[in-house]
Structure formats: C-alpha cells, structure tokens
C-alpha cells in the first residue's frame, strides 16, 4: 500500500461482502417461496423479500464502488486522500442509514414505513429499486456528495489520469441521475421515463464507466502494460458504452405508452450495447497477453478476466436475447428478464468488486504480493463455485422464462395459461435454480474462508 489513507477502503469492502451474503440469503429464501409459496410467510412475505433483495444489491454495489474508489484514487492521484476522516464518517452514516432502512422494510409494513417517514410530504416511495423512504434518499444524496467531494478534491490536488477522470465522470453521473428518484410524475408513462433515467442510466451507462475504470486500474497494476495503451482501450470502451447505453434507454420504452419510434431506437441502440462488453474481453485478454510483470496475485487477474467474460455473457448476450422489440413483446417481465438481471449484475458489477477486493485486500492486510498460494487455491475454488452457481442459476431461469413465454405469452388469451398455473408448472426448474443458488452461497462462504487461510510457511 502506497498511501496510508487507502486503508479507509477496508471497512467498505468488508461491509459490501457482508451485504452480498445477505443478498444471496434473501435471494435463496425467495427462491424457496417459488417452490413453497407460503414459506416464511407471514414473517417475511415475497414482496418484502424482493424489495430487500434488490435494495441490498444497490447498496452493496455502492459500498463496493466507494471502497474501490478510496483505494484507487490516492494511488492514481499520487497523494493521500483529501480527508480520510470524512471517508470514515461517510461509511458509518451510510451503514447506519442502510441498515435502518432494511430493518424498516423487514419489521414494519411498507405502508406503515411510508407513514412513519412522512412520505406524503414528498412522495418518492414505491418504485422498484427506489423504494427507500424519502429521508433515506436525502441521506444517500449527502453521503454521495461527501464522497464525491473527497474524491474530487484528491484528484484536483494530485495527478490526473485517464482512469481517475473516467471514474469521476461515472461517479458524477451516478450522483446526477439519482436526482430523478426525487421526481415522481402522476402520469404513469412519465413516471416510467424518469424511473428509467435512474435505473438504466446507472446500470447501462454511468456504472459501466466505473466498471471500465476499475478494470483498467487493476490491469495497469497487474500487467505493467503502458498506460497509453490501456487508456486508448478505455476511451474506446467508454465511448461505445455511452453512445449505445444512452440511446439504448429506448429499449425500456417498449409497449408502455411511449411513441412507437422508441421500438426502433431502443432495438438498434441496445443491439450495440454488447459491443463495449465484448471489447472489454479483448481488452483484458490482450493486456494480460502482453503483460510485462508477473504478479503473484493470480486470483486478482482471474477475477478481472472473469468480470470481462461473465459481464459480456450476462449483460451482453443475455441482454441481447430479449432486447429487440418484436421479441421483447413476448418476453417482457418474464423470468428471462430475471435471468439477464442476475448474470449481468453478478458478472459486470459484483465481479468487478471481487476483482478490486482480491487485488486490494491482500495489500491492505500487509501482503503486497497477494495471498499465499494456499489461500489463492481456496479463492480459486470459490471463484468457480460462484461463477458456475450463477451461470447455472441463469440457465435455469432462462428455461423457466422460455416455459413461461410458451405457456403464458405466445398463446392467445383464450388458450394462454394464467400466471400462477404457469409458475406451478415451472416448479422443477425452480428447484434446480435454488440448488445453483446454494452453490453460489457455498462459493461466497468459501471466499470468506480464504481470508482466514494461514500463510504458507514455505515461501516460494
């Protein structure tokens, strides 16, 4: 570790991993509810579980991004963080607000939570991913602002690199687009527009910049390839991401009351969205092929390659499967969407956080050359357990989606089966999905265990 203030990243990483464990546990519980409808009911109904599952995802990724930034920025800027104290305060404020909100979801009925937090004064609750009470949303704005201030001041006072500028651009975009969460028009179509301005422009535009910058940082460190070379790739990837991603917002405006031209804009632009992900694979493998140093932290490289490949599969291939309007007409909101969502979020975002953690954590824990070979072996097992678990889960959901489309969507209304009947038919597939979910959880537990594997006595 070059700068002592990079240490503030550690609690962010640890908490992000704890949230990921919660994320998987809630997901697994829900997957059991798909098989036994009243499992854990009335203690935790499906809608609450789902809300916690998607909210935890957002919060864990934000913690992961923040930790990654606090680790990366001092090294890129070649100076200590502007205010390590502020970063620590931000951590605790965000943690307390996050935990309180999740507990609110779990312990109080949602309508009650809305009343308690005086949602009627400024109604923003009730939209998927953005269910947080208005007060929490305001808290998030403050947390993000203090984080941006900290990071921006560090960059302004220090060295400016392509990686840090692109990361900052992504973070400012993240902050800016979140503001649309505060505007809930009465008109349902308008409401959807503004909702997607947050959700889509996060996931398929600004976050991809963050992803690109983090991946580039790890590759610079582990391969020793010239920055000039890496920067060029990064520019290409983010240019394509922004063009395809911004216009690709149109693929959410299908069949929701928006004008018909969105069918064309959305289909064509989002057909181009897999391209930056494919470039990311070329980028990662090319840099690794031309590497000038052999870093002992092999696992960080494995995660980096994994991010590029699984990100492309989940976001690119599974996204493309149902992004063209004539196909989306049948697949909209089926389990196929869930399949895409799971592998995309895991491959692109959870895995880049694993990449950063696997790269940075050993250094933060006083092991500049990475974990011991034994620990890396355990970590490699956890990598495959999680990746195979998630791909298996995605394939199961894809089969479930296709069955759902066949029975519920394609037949005319006289012959189509109703939603619940179809779900009952899919039960065997849901069992397979749950088993792969268990595998993913085991993978994460194995990952946790790798932190406690003792150093090898024999140093190679």
């Amino acid at each position: 570790m070059k700068y002592s203030s990079q240490m503030v990243a550690k609690p962010y990483f640890i908490f992000a991993l704890m949230l990921l464990a919660g994320e998987i546990l809630f997901g697994l519980t829900m997957s059991i509810q798909y098989i036994y409808g009243d499992f854990a009911f009335p203690a935790i109904p499906f809608n609450v579980l789902r809300m916690v599952h998607v909210n935890l995802l957002i919060v864990l990724l934000l913690f992961g991004f923040m930790g990654s930034t606090y680790y990366l920025i001092p090294e890129e800027a070649e100076r200590e963080l502007w205010s390590p104290l502020l970063a620590k305060i931000t951590f605790w404020v965000f943690l307390i607000a996050g935990v309180a909100t999740i507990l609110g979801y779990l312990l109080v009925p949602y309508a009650e939570l809305a009343k308690l937090t005086m949602n009627d004064l400024w109604p923003t609750m009730g939209r998927e991913f953005l269910e947080q009470p208005t007060i929490t949303k305001i808290g998030i704005v403050f947390v993000v602002l203090s984080y941006l201030l900290n990071v921006t001041m560090t960059v302004l006072k220090g060295r400016k690199t392509t990686i840090s500028i692109i990361l900052l651009t992504g973070l400012f975009g993240l902050a800016f687009f979140f503001l649309f969460a505060f505007y809930v028009p009465d008109n349902l179509v308008m409401d959807k527009f503004f909702w997607w301005f947050v959700v889509h422009l996060w996931v398929e535009a600004t976050w991809e910049l963050i992803l690109g910058a983090l991946l580039a940082f790890v590759l610079v460190k582990l391969t020793g390839v010239d920055r000039e070379h890496i920067d060029k790739w990064l520019y290409l990837i983010i240019a394509m991401t922004l063009i395809a991603g911004l216009a690709g917002t149109g693929h959410h405006f299908f069949f929701m009351g928006a004008p018909g031209y969105w069918l064309w804009i959305g289909s064509i632009a989002s057909a181009a969205e897999p391209i930056p992900f494919f470039l990311m694979i070329l980028f990662a493998y090319n840099m690794i092929k031309n590497r000038r140093i052999q870093d002992d932290n092999k696992m960080a490289l494995t995660w980096a390659k994994g991010t590029a490949v699984v990100g492309f599969l989940g976001a690119g291939v599974w996204g493309f499967l149902h992004t063209l309007a004539p196909i989306n007409y049948y697949t909209h909101g089926t389990q196929l969407t869930a399949a895409h969502g799971h592998l995309a979020f895991f491959g692109a975002y959870v895995m880049i956080i694993f990449t950063m953690i696997s790269y940075a954590m050993p250094i933060l824990r006083g092991r500049p050359h990475g974990n011991s070979a034994k620990a890396q072996k355990v970590e490699r097992a956890s990598f495959w357990l999680m990746v195979i678990g998630m791909i298996g889960l995605t394939l199961a959901l894809t089969v479930a989606g296709v069955m759902q489309i066949e029975m519920q969507r394609i037949p005319d209304s006289a012959h189509a089966m109703v939603f619940m009947e179809v779900q009952a038919k899919i039960t065997p597939v849901y069992i397979v999905r749950s088993l792969f979910g268990v595998m993913t959880l085991l993978g994460l537990l194995t990952y946790f265990y790798s932190f406690f594997v003792k150093d090898d006595k024999k140093v190679a």
Binding site: W233, M240, P259, Y261, W264, I265, I268, A271, I275
Partner: protein
C-alpha cells in the same frame, strides 16, 4: 519480405481503434438500413408518397459537398504523409489549408441540413408522422451528429498542424481523422441513395 512488412505497417491507415469504431458504425447504420428496407417493403406506397416531400436537390448538393470535402482530406493527408526534414513545416501549412476547406464544407453541410430539418418540421412532420419519416429523421439526425463530431475532430487535427505538426514518420493522427471523415461520407452516400432516391 521487407516490402510486405512495410505495407502491413501502412495499412490499414490510421489508428487500429478507429477501425473498430468504423465496423461498429457500419453495423449500426447497416441495421437501420435493413430496418428501412423491410419497413418499406411492408408499405411501399406510403414510403414513395412521403419521399416526394423530401428535397432531392438539397440532398444531392449535400452529397457533392461531402464528396468534395473528402477529396480535401485526401489532399491534406497526402501533403504531410511524405514530408520529411525541412519539408515538414510547409507541408503542414498546406495541410491546414486543405483541412480548413474540408471543415468549411462540413459546416456548410450542417447548415444545409438544419435548413432542411426546419423545412420538414414547419410542415408539421415529426418522428411520429409515419414510418418513413421516422426512419428519415432518425437516419439523417444520427448522421448529422456524426458530421458534427467529424468537424470537431478535423478542427483538432488542424490545430495540431499549427503546433508540432504531422510528418512522414507521424501521420497516424491525421489519417485516423481522415478515415473517420470518409466513413461519414460513405454513410451519407448510402443514406442519400436509399432514402432520397430509390423508389
């Protein structure tokens, strides 16, 4: 052997990454062209009638403007590509003049297009009027953005001819911009024939 490797270095001209951009652009526009063709087949009369409302003369002038500006780019690239030693400075002065001509033609194209758009909009035509005009507006506006970007790229390249300049050993930047400008030109030629002419 030697000759082969030097040819390999010369081609493709420009930076490797611009070729990735070009392929992606060709695929994207290609998809739109194919979409246009299929939609047209579904309602030929609508497309033919709507097409009559377009200003073909303006479109033809636009085509000439872009082709001519591409010629200026070729002259600019050629003037610096063989420049060595003392020739470099004068070659860059010449290149900057050719580039200025290309930029001016790019700007004229943009103005011409804006006039065309305002004429179309003043008739109350928009993206939702019908499928033909949706394609016409999407394609021409998307292409418009490319010309605007290309003009900015050329401006940057021209700035560089005024500072350290290009030479036989370092002509990659100007070639990259030139290749992009030719792409924009090529896309327009297909677009013009497909949308304005073919009936």
């Amino acid at each position: 052997m030697n000759k082969t490797s030097s040819i390999k270095e010369l081609y493709p001209p420009g930076d490797f990454t611009i070729w990735i951009v070009i392929y992606v652009e060709l695929i994207t526009f290609g998809l739109m062209f194919v979409g246009y063709a299929f939609s047209r087949r579904a309602d030929i009369a609508l497309f033919n009638n709507s097409q009559l409302l377009l200003n073909q003369t303006a479109g033809f002038i636009d085509t000439l403007i872009l082709i001519t500006s591409s010629y200026f780019i070729v002259k600019a690239v050629n003037s610096v590509k063989n420049a060595r030693g003392e020739m470099i400075q004068s070659a860059n002065i010449l290149a900057s003049k050719w580039l200025l001509a290309a930029i001016l033609f790019g700007v004229i194209f943009l103005v011409n297009k804006l006039l065309e758009f305002s004429a179309i909009f003043s008739q109350g035509i928009g993206l939702s009027t019908n499928t033909f005009f949706m394609f016409y507006l999407l394609l021409t506006m998307f292409h418009f953005m490319h010309v605007a970007l290309g003009t900015v790229v050329l401006l940057n390249i021209r700035q560089r001819t005024k500072r350290d300049g290009y030479s036989a050993d370092d002509s990659r930047g100007i070639e990259t911009g030139g290749v992009y400008w030719h792409l924009v030109d090529l896309l327009w030629i297909v677009l013009f024939v497909l949308v304005y002419i073919i009936r």
